[in-house]
Symmetry: C2
DNA sequence: TGCAATCGTTTCGGTTCCGTATCATTACGC
DNA sequence: GCGTAATGATACGGAACCGAAACGATTGCA
């Protein structure tokens, strides 16, 4: 449990967004970010259908996000050999580094919050 | 100063993104979010040029973001009467409510963080 | 008064994303 | 085997975004 006041929360959100925009990081949409973090934080396996349900979006949204982030090497697709209809979404080294960096940015900005 | 561990930070970021995606809120890009929060948190006046410098992006990026978020009534443009070349970006009631809601989501998710 | 500088907008070609609908592949019950 | 269900990918028209460059409007200085 982390105590955070509304103004602190907004300031934190602003600073992190500013940091990502200024550093010209891959400009992920909020949906892509939600997918990426879910894959890296929630226990596997992750499927297109599962992610679509979790985010309450349609499957093409997930497919396209995987196309984009796959090209960025942030995620990888693998066919499920036990049920070849499924596609399993797995982590990559590059993605892990990227996610880790986001966490560091949030932590750093949280530490510098006034009040 | 708010103490936050990396895993907590990532979990917080994920939960907030998930909440926004699931609730079908206006799907702002990270740039738009940075602009919106800056206008509402930093002291006025805000100009296109000033925001472009602060975010290290080009001016058309700001103009387009103002078009989009202006149509959503999240921000308003006003011509500066003292120097009519300038456009002042101002807050709106709808935008204030939207920003306030974001802060609440962050606070609520921070309060529920494990560990 | 004329001219250069400043400001925000617009245009251009190209890319990405959206939602809906449809498609190919695979699995499973009859 | 055959049809049905389920999964992920694709096609489509439309919308938004990008960076670079050009543009009109406004200012201020010579």
């Amino acid at each position: 449990m982390v105590a955070l006041r509304p103004l602190q929360a907004l300031r934190l959100w602003q600073q992190v967004c500013l940091a990502e925009v200024r550093d010209d990081m891959p400009d992920l949409t909020e949906r892509q970010m939600a997918i990426l973090l879910t894959v890296y934080l929630d226990p596997p396996p992750h499927t297109v259908r599962g992610l679509a349900e979790k985010l309450k979006v349609t499957k093409p949204v997930i497919t396209r996000a995987l196309d984009t982030m796959g090209a960025m090497k942030l995620l990888a697709r693998h066919r499920d050999e036990r049920d070849r209809r499924n596609v399993l979404i797995r982590r990559t080294v590059e993605g892990a580094l990227f996610v880790e960096r986001i966490g560091d940015v949030v932590v750093a900005n949280a530490a510098e919050l006034p009040l």
